[in-house]
Every structure is written in structure tokens, then in C-alpha cells.
């Protein structure tokens, strides 16, 4: 479903509202992500940042407001979900690799079954995306044989194989120790350098500061403050000041 959108916006949310029962998790959220931009969504647990991210890929339905992603009207009930998800890659906190498949099979599954790619071509692609995340030698390993950091990098590679126009990262390093976090962050930094459009929910303030073109600080279901990464060092609202005050800004 292609529709008119501002020429460069890959993702745009306008006045998005979402409640779980009586709990209002998103209360009029608006932001946009331009092509090639890296947007980091930060905020306390329960501030609605993960929900906002999941709304972009339609893992949550919104109650009100407009979401346009790569030309797809995500808030519309008849959005073509499979077309949307070919344009959007998502990586989760818990990796979610398929345990019964090798890393190669994890990666080739979607290109083969969704894009009808020939297996030989998909295997070539698997090699290529695994090289991008530095895991070529794990092609034939099962997910369980990999460390958490390696699993997360493999999950990123699996997403990349679908050649998405935008990547969503939902607290992808939260389950990892600092050393493994660093290796996953290096992969994401390389993607950013290559010009990938990315939206990430993160608790790593140092990482957000170093990689994000723009920060969205969410507080009680609203975008409380937004701006370039410098707002982390010189916040204008007391809530953000208090939030980063408790975070770790060493990078």
C-alpha cells in the first residue's frame, strides 16, 4: 500500500495513542525518522519506548493516530503486513533465533520462503551478511552453540538478509554482559556508518550518545524531549536531567 509521505521520512508517527486495558502506554507520540538517520529512543522502564518501537512493525496495534513506514499505512486495518515486514527488520532483546535450524538456515529461511530466492543464492547471501557481522565461521553452527553476543549478531544478520529499508532494535544488548554488548554495538555502528536507517530502544546512554543522530526521550507515554545527541549532556527538562543523571555517560 504505497501512499504519499514526505519524501525522505522512512518512519513517521503522528499523535499515536495506545492503551493496555486502563493503562495508557502511549499518549500522543509523534516523531519521524529520515532516510539514513539513527534514532535512539530512551526512557525509564514503562515509559512506552518498547511499545512505540513495536507499533512501527505492527506488533502492537494503535488505538489512535497515524503511523507511516516506508509508505505503508501501519495504523490502517488493511495494511499489507508481509509487505511492511519485508521493508522493516526487527531485532529483539532475546535474539529469538530458531533453535532447530543452523545459522545458515536461520538466515536463508525468509529470503527463500518469502522472496522465493533460489537456495544457492540465499546461501551466498547468508555468507555475505554473516561476514558483515563477523561470524562467517558459524555458518553451520546451531544457535545454542553460540554465545549471547554471537547469537545477537546472527539475529542481526538474519534481519539484514531481507534487505530492509529500516532496522528496529529493541534493547538488543540488555541481555548481554559488557564485553558482548561491545561486540554487538560495533556491528550496529558499522551498519550506521553504511547508512542504514535505524530506530533503537536502548538503555546504554553512552552508546546512544555516540551513535544516534537524534534522541527521543520518552516519559509517561509521551515524547518528553527530543533533539540531537547533545541533549544527553545538556538536557533542558528536569526529567531528562534526572534520567541521564542516573545513567552511565562514559563512552
Amino acid at each position: 500500500m504505497q501512499q504519499d509521505t514526505p519524501a525522505t521520512s522512512i518512519v513517521s508517527l503522528r499523535d499515536v495513542q495506545k492503551s493496555f486495558g486502563s493503562l495508557k502506554v502511549l499518549d500522543g507520540v509523534s516523531f519521524a525518522v529520515e532516510r539514513g538517520e539513527v534514532l535512539a529512543i530512551i526512557g525509564r522502564s514503562g515509559s512506552g519506548k518498547s511499545t512505540a518501537l513495536r507499533c512501527i512493525d505492527r506488533f502492537e496495534r494503535v488505538d489512535h493516530g497515524e503511523i507511516v513506514v516506508c509508505g505503508h499505512r501501519v495504523d490502517s486495518p488493511d495494511v499489507d503486513l508481509r509487505a511492511l515486514r519485508q521493508d522493516v527488520g526487527i531485532v529483539f532483546q532475546s535474539y529469538n533465533l530458531f533453535p532447530h535450524l543452523t545459522i545458515e538456515q536461520n538466515i536463508t529461511l525468509a529470503p527463500c520462503s518469502v522472496k522465493r530466492m533460489a537456495l544457492s543464492q540465499a546461501k551466498e547471501l547468508a555468507r555475505k551478511v554473516l561476514a558483515q557481522v563477523g561470524l562467517e565461521e558459524k555458518l553451520h553452527a546451531y544457535p545454542e552453540q553460540l554465545s549471547g553476543g554471537q547469537q545477537q549478531r546472527a539475529a542481526i544478520a538474519r534481519s539484514l538478509a531481507m534487505q530492509p529499508k529500516v532496522m528496529l532494535f529493541d534493547e538488543v544488548t540488555s541481555a548481554l554482559d559488557p564485553e558482548l554488548t561491545a561486540e554487538v554495538q560495533r556491528v550496529i555502528e558499522r551498519l550506521a556508518a553504511e547508512g542504514m536507517t535505524m530506530v533503537m530502544v536502548t538503555h546504554e546512554m553512552g552508546f546512544a550518545k555516540s551513535i544516534a543522530d537524534r534522541i527521543v526521550f520518552m516519559h509517561r507515554g509521551k515524547v518528553h524531549e527530543t533533539g540531537p545527541a547533545s541533549i544527553l549532556t545538556s538536557p533542558t527538562t528536569p526529567e531528562l536531567a534526572q534520567f541521564v543523571g542516573t545513567g552511565d555517560l562514559k563512552s
Binding site: D57, F59, R85, P99, H100, L109, A110, Q151, S159
Partner: protein
């Protein structure tokens, strides 16, 4: 009348035992196929399909197998559908096994962690592809030990088919006893034969369960 247990009697019992195995395989095959459909229906996105399959499962699970057998053999005959003992027993057991296997397998499908669905969804796989390529392969691993274990129930339950005159192991025992009047010896033999069929399967099921615990991959969410 009377006489002693001879080779012909044992041959007759052996023949009955083969039919017990045959009927079990029919029940497992038919019930397995139908149970697979029930399991998929129980997790269908359509509410009406879920409801209908749930009603079926509850109905069968709340009815003794003996009653289902009577309905299939005597009941249907009374309204003009005379089934052979084999057809009546096979159909009744299929209906019965389908309900139980359907329910066991539904549980296995649902025990695949929800993030696996989401990851497959995020990769733009269709619902059928998610089910066939991501969920079912994991569910089948989980389902194997309880399914093998349920085989024991099937084998023992085929003995009820004797009441509609189907000559499986139990019925052949009754027939032999009718001529020899040695119920203790004969039913002891029958019991031993059932045990010999069921125990190896029980053992195998236990072994599968233990192997699951330290499998090449575990299915716990990371």
C-alpha cells in the same frame, strides 16, 4: 468341553494379538491425522474454528470410549448404518484418539515460546510458513515423548473393541476361555502379552523424555 491349552489356542491368541497391534496402528494413524487437524484448529486465528474444535474435544473426553463404541456399532446399526466390527472399532478409536492427541499437540504448539512466532512474523513469513517451518518443527520435538507415551493408552484401550465382537487379543482370550474354562491361566497370558507390548513403549517414552532434557538445543526462551 474342557481340554488343555494347546498350540492351536496359542496360535489363536497370537492372531488376536496381531489384530490388537493392527487396531492400535489404525487408531494411531487415523487419530493422528485427525488429531493434527484438531490441534491446528485449536490454535486457529478464527474463533469459531477454535470453539468448534474445543467442543469436539470436550465432548469426546467427557464420554467413555465404551459408549462411543456402542454408539458406533449398535447405535448406527439401529438407524440403518451397519458397520463391521473392525470399521466400528477403528472409527470409534480414531475419534477418541484424535481428541486426546489433538489436545496433547495443542499444548506442544503453545509451549513453543511466543517470541519465536514474533521473530518469524518480523521476517515476513506467512502464518502457514511460520507454523510449518518455525513452530511445528519445534513442537514435534516437544510432542514426541508424550505421544509415544499415549500409544500405551491406545493399545490398552483397543481391548474394549472386544465388546463389539472384534476379535483382538482380549476377545480371542474370551473365546479360548469359553472352550477351556481356565480363566486365570488364560487371562494371565493375555495380561502378559499386553504388558509385553506396552512396557517397551513406556521405556522408550521415558528415554525420549530424558534425552529431551539434554537435547542438542533446548527450547527455553533465551
Amino acid at each position: 468341553m474342557g481340554g488343555h491349552l494347546n498350540f492351536n489356542h496359542l496360535l489363536f491368541l497370537g492372531h488376536g494379538a496381531l489384530w490388537t497391534i493392527g487396531l492400535s496402528l489404525i487408531a494411531l494413524g487415523g487419530g493422528g491425522l485427525a488429531g493434527f487437524v484438531i490441534a491446528l484448529a485449536r490454535v486457529s486465528p478464527l474463533k469459531s474454528v477454535r470453539l468448534l474444535s474445543a467442543v469436539y474435544v470436550q465432548l469426546i473426553q467427557g464420554t467413555p470410549l465404551l459408549v462411543i463404541l456402542f454408539l458406533g456399532y449398535f447405535g448406527l446399526a439401529a438407524v440403518g448404518f451397519q458397520l463391521s466390527p473392525l470399521a466400528a472399532a477403528g472409527a470409534s478409536l480414531t475419534l477418541y484418539v484424535a481428541a486426546y492427541l489433538g489436545e496433547i499437540w495443542r499444548g506442544c504448539i503453545e509451549s513453543v515460546p511466543k517470541p519465536q512466532w514474533e521473530a518469524a512474523e518480523g521476517l515476513a513469513l506467512s502464518r502457514t510458513q511460520r507454523m510449518m517451518k518455525v513452530i511445528l518443527p519445534q513442537a514435534i520435538r516437544i510432542a514426541t515423548p508424550p505421544t509415544v507415551g499415549f500409544m500405551v493408552q491406545i493399545i490398552k484401550n483397543t481391548s474394549l473393541a472386544s465388546v463389539v465382537g472384534f476379535v483382538e487379543l482380549m476377545r480371542s482370550g474370551q473365546i479360548v476361555n469359553n472352550s477351556l474354562f481356565e480363566p486365570f491361566a488364560i487371562y494371565a497370558i493375555i495380561a502378559v502379552v499386553y504388558f509385553a507390548m506396552c512396557y517397551p513403549i513406556s521405556l522408550y517414552s521415558q528415554r525420549l523424555e530424558r534425552r529431551m532434557g539434554r537435547g542438542k538445543f533446548n527450547l527455553a526462551p533465551a
